[in-house]
C-alpha cells in the first residue's frame, strides 16, 4: 500500500480510497473560542471549515478471554459524546486533505474523492499528520496551557475495490484470501476479523480490525475492505503517538499484502 519503506510490500495502484491517522487524548477544558486558535495555525493549508457532530471517546480494551460479539464497544454500552465542543473539519482547498479536531481527538485524513487522484503515499499523509500534530501541541501549550496526554491512536486504510456489477460484491474471494467460499454466489458478504497486537512483554496494546462489505457507492458497486489498527500508544508522548502510527501502518500494509490474491496483485500492480 505504500512504497516509502523498501522492506514493506508496495502496490503501484492500491485500491486505497481514504487514509486516516488519528490520536485521542485527555480532553482539556476547551471553549468554542479555542477553535479559532487552532485553526489559525493550519489555516493556510486547510482554509475550509465544516462543523460536524463529535465522535464519542472510545477505547480498545483487552480482557483475559476473547469477548464474542465483536469489539468491546459494540455490545451495547456506549456513551454519548460531549456536545459542548463540536468536531471541526478543516479542509484543504482541493478537498483532498482534511484535519478533524474536537476536544479529545485530532485526525488527519487523505481522501481520494470521486476522481482519479493518486494515493500520495504514507510519507505524505504522515507529514501532514505531523504538521497538524505539532500545531496542535503548540496550541495546547500556548493557548490552552494544558498537558497533552494521549490515550488512543488509530490508523485506518479504507479500500474500495470496484466490481463489474453488484453480483461481484458477493465474491470478495477474488481479491482477498480471507474469504474463499465463492463456489455459490452469495447475495451479500459482510465480515470482520480482529487480531490482537502484542508488545514485547506479551501484553496486547492494540487491535487490528479487518472488515469487508459489498455495497453500492457513488462510483458503482464495490467491495469496501477496511484495515484499522487502534490501541494505546506504548509511550504517552508525541513520539509515542508517531511510533504507534508507524507500527500500525506497517501492520496494515503487511497484512494487506498477505491477503491480496494473485488477481489483486495483478490489478493493483504489486511492485515489491
Amino acid at each position: 500500500m505504500t512504497s516509502s519503506t523498501p522492506a514493506l510490500p508496495s502496490f503501484r495502484k492500491p485500491p486505497i480510497f481514504e487514509v486516516a491517522l488519528g490520536v485521542q487524548f485527555k480532553a482539556p477544558q476547551l471553549l468554542a473560542v479555542h477553535i479559532g486558535g487552532f485553526h489559525r495555525r493550519i489555516r493556510d493549508q486547510y482554509p475550509k471549515v465544516v462543523q460536524v457532530p463529535p465522535i464519542p471517546p472510545s477505547f480498545e480494551v483487552f480482557l483475559p478471554l476473547p469477548a464474542p460479539g465483536g469489539p468491546a464497544g459494540s455490545v451495547g454500552i456506549a456513551v454519548r459524546a460531549s456536545e459542548a465542543f463540536p468536531r471541526q473539519w478543516f479542509i484543504s482547498d482541493d478537498d483532498e486533505h482534511l484535519v478533524q479536531f474536537q476536544s479529545d481527538r485530532l485526525i488527519v485524513n487523505w481522501r481520494k474523492g470521486e476522481g482519479d487522484r493518486p494515493y500520495p503515499r504514507y510519507s505524505e499523509v504522515r507529514r501532514r499528520f505531523t504538521e497538524a500534530f505539532e500545531a496542535f501541541q503548540d496550541f495546547m501549550r500556548e493557548d490552552v496551557r494544558a498537558a497533552f496526554d494521549p490515550n488512543q491512536c488509530e490508523a485506518t486504510y479504507l479500500n474500495r475495490i470496484p466490481v463489474a456489477d453488484p453480483a461481484g460484491w458477493g465474491r470478495p474471494g477474488r481479491w482477498v484470501r480471507l474469504w474463499n467460499d465463492d463456489a455459490e454466489e452469495a447475495e451479500a458478504v459482510q465480515f470482520s476479523v480482529h487480531r490482537l497486537l502484542k508488545a514485547s512483554d506479551g501484553n496486547p496494546y492494540a487491535r487490528l480490525i479487518i472488515s469487508a462489505e459489498g455495497g453500492m457507492t457513488t462510483a458503482g458497486p464495490a467491495i469496501m475492505l477496511n484495515l484499522q489498527v487502534r490501541g494505546r500508544p506504548l509511550a504517552a508522548s508525541p513520539a509515542g503517538v508517531l511510533d504507534f502510527l508507524d507500527c500500525a501502518r506497517e501492520t496494515i500494509v503487511t497484512r494487506f499484502a498477505a491477503l491480496a490474491t494473485d488477481e489483486g496483485n495483478r490489478v493493483w500492480e504489486r511492485e515489491a
Binding site: 471517546p57 477505547f59 483475559p64 469477548a67 460479539g69 455490545v75 454500552i77
Partner: protein
Amino acid sequence: MSAALDRHNGGGGPVRSLWSTYQRCQAGAQTDAMSFQPERESFLPGLVGPSWHDAGRRLDDLLDLQPGWDSYGGRPPSPELIAYAAAQLSGLKALHLPPPNIAPSGDGQILATWRGRGIEVELWFEAPYCETVVIDDEQFPDAAYAGADPRLAKTTQALRRIGSGM
C-alpha cells in the same frame, strides 16, 4: 493499593467499600461476612437486581454530573474515563457475566460493584488503563484480593463464580 480507595473509605462517599474488609483479611482477622454490614447503602436505592441496560444508562448519566454533584465538592468522572469504563464493562457483558451497580466517587472515579454467592467485587476505574479491584469471598477467604487488575483477570474470575449461580 489505590490511594483513592483509602480516601473513599474514610470520606463518607455515596457507596460503601470493601476496602475495610480487605484490610481486616490482610491483618489476619477473622472476617465474618454474615455479620458484615455496609457502612452505607447503594447509591441507587431500590435497584436490587441491576441489568446491563441499567449499567449502560447509569454510565451515560455520569456525563451529566457537574462539579459538586455530591454536595461535598465532588469531581465528576471525565468523559474519557466513562468511555473507558463502558468499554471494559462491554467486554464483561459480552462474556455473559452479571451486570454491576455503577456509582461515581467524589474524586472523579467510577465504581462498579457486584454481589452474589457470598462474593463481593468492587472495581474502581481510576483512569483509562488504570483500575483496581477489591474482591471479598466469604467461602474462600484466601481468594480475597485487592490490587491492580489491568486485564480484569481477577475480576472476570470472581464474576464467573458469581454468575454461575444465576
